[in-house]
Amino acid sequence: MKNLMKINYCWRQMDKEVFSVEENVFYEVNKDARRIKLDLFSTIVTKFGVFFMIAILAVFGIIVSPKFLSGSNLLNVLNAVSYLGIVATGISFVIYSGHYADMSAPMTMAITGVICVEFMRYGLVYGMIAAVITGIIIGTINGFVVGKIRVNPVIWTMAMNFILEGLVRWSYHGNQIYPDMANEQTYKTGFFLPLMYKLDPNILNIDLESKAAAFNGLAQTYPLGVPLVLYIMFAVMIAGYVVMSKTTFGNQLKVVGSNYNVAKMSGINCTRTVMLAFIISSVCAAIGGIFMTSLNQVGAFYIGQGYDFQAVTALILGGMSLAGGRGNMLGVFGGVFTLGLISNILTLIGIGTFTQKMITGAIFILVVYVNAKSLRKLGRDYA
């Protein structure tokens, strides 16, 4: 009977669809069977999963060691991850834009560190400005190549990382640069040092000691008993939060990250948006680089090593999706804090650094699995 009916016309009522057929016979079709109600558990896991993890880790930590819950220990955890937090905040913009990750972050940290050390002999502020400008330049190059020429972001930023590493090692002849030591030999290597020496040979007699103390002190300052770098991390994250969710750029970035072609067809300047994301990433890496170099009291190519993958791990833990357009700053903080807690608890148990790496890797796999699974439950298997 139904086969013979010709559907001419139908309209939708709120609850049921009614078809009028040729013979003016009405029959009802079952309501749209697609699930519109979402699985509450899956929604929570995708949105706040990382905070469950922090809670579990906290319970675990209390069981493992009574020292865990002490203020100084928690401050230590935060201090240890604050550098990562700064860098991850920057990279979160690249992930958010749907361009996977900025793999040039480690060498951006290193190169901005050495540039800061070079310029710090004019004053700490000059050093910082020079470092941030270097970051902006690197970010602009990355952003242009990825945003305009549309080169694969991972491949390009990795290549950039190699180029920057080569640049640092070549220009320092493989040496490191110490903020508090300089002789005639030092001024023959480096990026700007030979130029500085040429412009003003008296630079050799400069009082480096006090300037180096100011620079090295950056990572050792404790306003109100809390490390300066922690303040900086929170400042960067709050700024990141505002930029990501409250500005024109951040909201356009969300559309770009969710679907590049849709953003393009909606009149969003994708090239400019992607470029800005990479610039933010590099500037954050530069800030992280300055503090990291200050902490190590030496400028060298290995400053920041491993921060690319650690940052990505933290970001995915924090609910960002490599597919882009998903996640928020609270999650970024959660992800970074989780990594810190894991490492802290493992140290309290007495597990060495190398074993820790393996465990962190395993946790990464687990989290990605859970994340992917809950996304699939929500019907988003393309995430």
Partner: protein, 498 residues
């Protein structure tokens, strides 16, 4: 043919296929004889492609029976269809453009010696199969596909299908990208294949071609078979009437004359290879339809006007002011909005909420000093929700949770919120249910009443007839005419076909 024993190669009996909410194919009987070219015709959505997909084994839940050479077969998987002798040649070619001709033809079945490729045999076999499509003299098997022009690609695709020795060959719009000379070459080859006793099912919108090549024709409409007849027994007009039928019109929009002022003038718009010297005028409150077959440059025209594609030359004059054809953003600021035909790839970011999707076009307008204030847009979003009756009525739901029709409404809302002066709609109701279609049509008419100029690019003829004040006809990238009096589907179909 009478008196001779006629071999029925394929016989489909009582085929029915349902999709949620629609009956795509309804109790269709269809048979094809060995050695004939059987044309399958019908408008978009008539059920042609669903029927052919059933034959190709794309569905495992069709109702009805299929017989090949009298034996019942179950075509529940593509491989079952392939081994039953069904060869499909789709409109979109499945060619790896940076591989050679021989690798393409024998993709998946490269002859080998142990684990190595038998190059000699591969070459010989390729030449044999190229001979079937008369390309053995002109194309070397080692040539890379990207160096081969479009119509030869089509023939190579055909050679690839013929390699499996099909008994039934389905050709879906094989001529949509070919010039008339090339069509002739293809027809010669089809006549050759026919003589070998292969049954050919030929799907085309081009009436002329059907009369030239087909022996019999079956017309489908709304999922049902209207008739099967010998091509020599029908006229073009009869065929068109069978396809179009006497339809219950959803509604007719009263035609407006050019009372409004001119808002847009397009002069000699050209994008080489796609649209050539397109000129037309658009008035306030007018709905201008554009009709054209696939490949006629319909979509490209819309994309060029919206600034999505580069334009080689031509002018756009908007409200007596010549504007530079820039990128989408600039055209949007000027008031030209383009609703893409490809909702999933270019229209909506499915992972955003409906509100975010709708507001994505006006983020700069809701911003002040670099900061974004979406609340200012919320009222307008709610208004649009009510106007378009989007279900479910929750603006914070992810767009992926909506049905196709409601997604399409969200897509329309996304462009309506920009308050365009000129709205270009590319297939605004493709693949949506009838209820949503009606709502979208009503909205379009309402917009026109409010003074928006609408350019309606559509392959849905009833839609064009019902909504358009005038229709311009595109054929192979050129405007070949304009229809404004007493539009009906027959006229449009004939005009687009030429």
């Amino acid at each position: 043919m009478e008196g001779q024993k006629v071999d029925v190669m394929l016989s489909m009996k009582g085929i029915t296929k349902r999709f949620p909410g629609t009956l795509a194919v309804c109790n269709v009987d269809f048979d094809v004889r060995a050695g004939e070219v059987h044309a399958l015709m019908g408008e978009n959505g008539a059920g042609k492609s669903t029927l052919m997909k059933i034959l190709a084994g794309s569905f495992n839940d069709y109702e009805g029976e299929i017989f090949i050479e009298g034996k019942p077969v179950k075509l529940h998987t593509p491989s079952a269809a392939k081994s039953a002798g069904v060869g499909m040649m789709y409109q979109e070619l499945s060619i790896a453009y940076n591989r050679s001709v021989q690798e393409n033809i024998f993709a998946g079945a490269i002859p080998g010696k142990g684990i190595f490729v038998d190059k000699k045999q591969l070459r010989e076999k390729t030449i044999q199969s190229l001979a079937r499509v008369k390309l053995d003299k002109t194309i070397d098997p080692d040539t890379e596909m990207k160096n081969i022009n479009q119509h030869e690609c089509q023939l190579i695709e055909l050679a690839k299908v013929l390699n499996n020795n099909p008994r039934i060959l389905v050709m879906d719009e094989p001529t949509s990208a070919l010039s008339s000379d090339e069509v002739q070459i293809l027809f010669d080859i089809i006549n050759d294949i026919k003589k070998k006793g292969i049954a050919i099912i030929y799907i085309s919108h081009h009436l002329q071609e059907v009369f030239e090549i087909a022996d019999r024709v079956t017309v489908l409409r709304d999922g049902r078979k209207i008739a099967t007849c010998n091509v020599c027994d029908v006229t073009k007009e009869e065929l068109v009437e069978m396809m179009v039928g006497q339809k219950v019109k959803e509604f007719y929009k009263p035609k407006t004359s050019h009372a409004g002022e001119k808002i847009l003038e397009v002069k000699n718009l050209t994008r080489y290879g796609f649209v050539h010297d397109i000129s037309f005028e658009l008035y306030k409150g007018e709905i201008l339809g554009v009709v054209g077959l696939a490949g006629s440059g319909r979509t490209e025209l819309g994309r060029c006007l919206a600034g999505a594609d580069k334009v080689d030359y031509g002018e756009i004059i908007l409200e007596n002011e010549k504007i530079k054809i820039g990128d989408i953003n600039k055209m949007l600021e000027k008031g030209i909005a383009y609703l893409t035909e490809n909702r999933k790839l270019e229209g909506l970011a499915l992972r955003l909420t409906n509100r975010q999707n709708i507001l994505s076009t006006i983020i700069p307008r809701l911003s002040k000093g670099g900061f974004y204030f979406p609340r200012k847009g919320n009222n307008r979003v709610k208004e649009l929700y009510e106007e378009l009756n989007i279900y479910p009525n929750n603006t914070d739901l992810e767009t992926s949770n909506l049905s196709g029709g409601n997604q399409q409404k969200v897509l329309l809302a996304k462009w309506l919120i920009t308050k365009p002066k000129v709205l270009i709609l590319d297939e605004p109701t493709r693949g949506v249910d009838v209820g949503a279609k009606k709502k979208i049509h009503e909205t379009i008419v309402k917009l026109a009443k409010e003074g928006v100029a609408v350019l309606l690019l559509s392959s849905d003829l009833p839609e064009l007839v019902a909504l358009s004040d005038r229709v311009i006809v595109l054929r192979r990238g050129h405007v070949i005419g304009e229809l404004n009096e007493e539009l009906d589907e027959n006229k449009l179909l004939l005009a687009a076909n030429g």
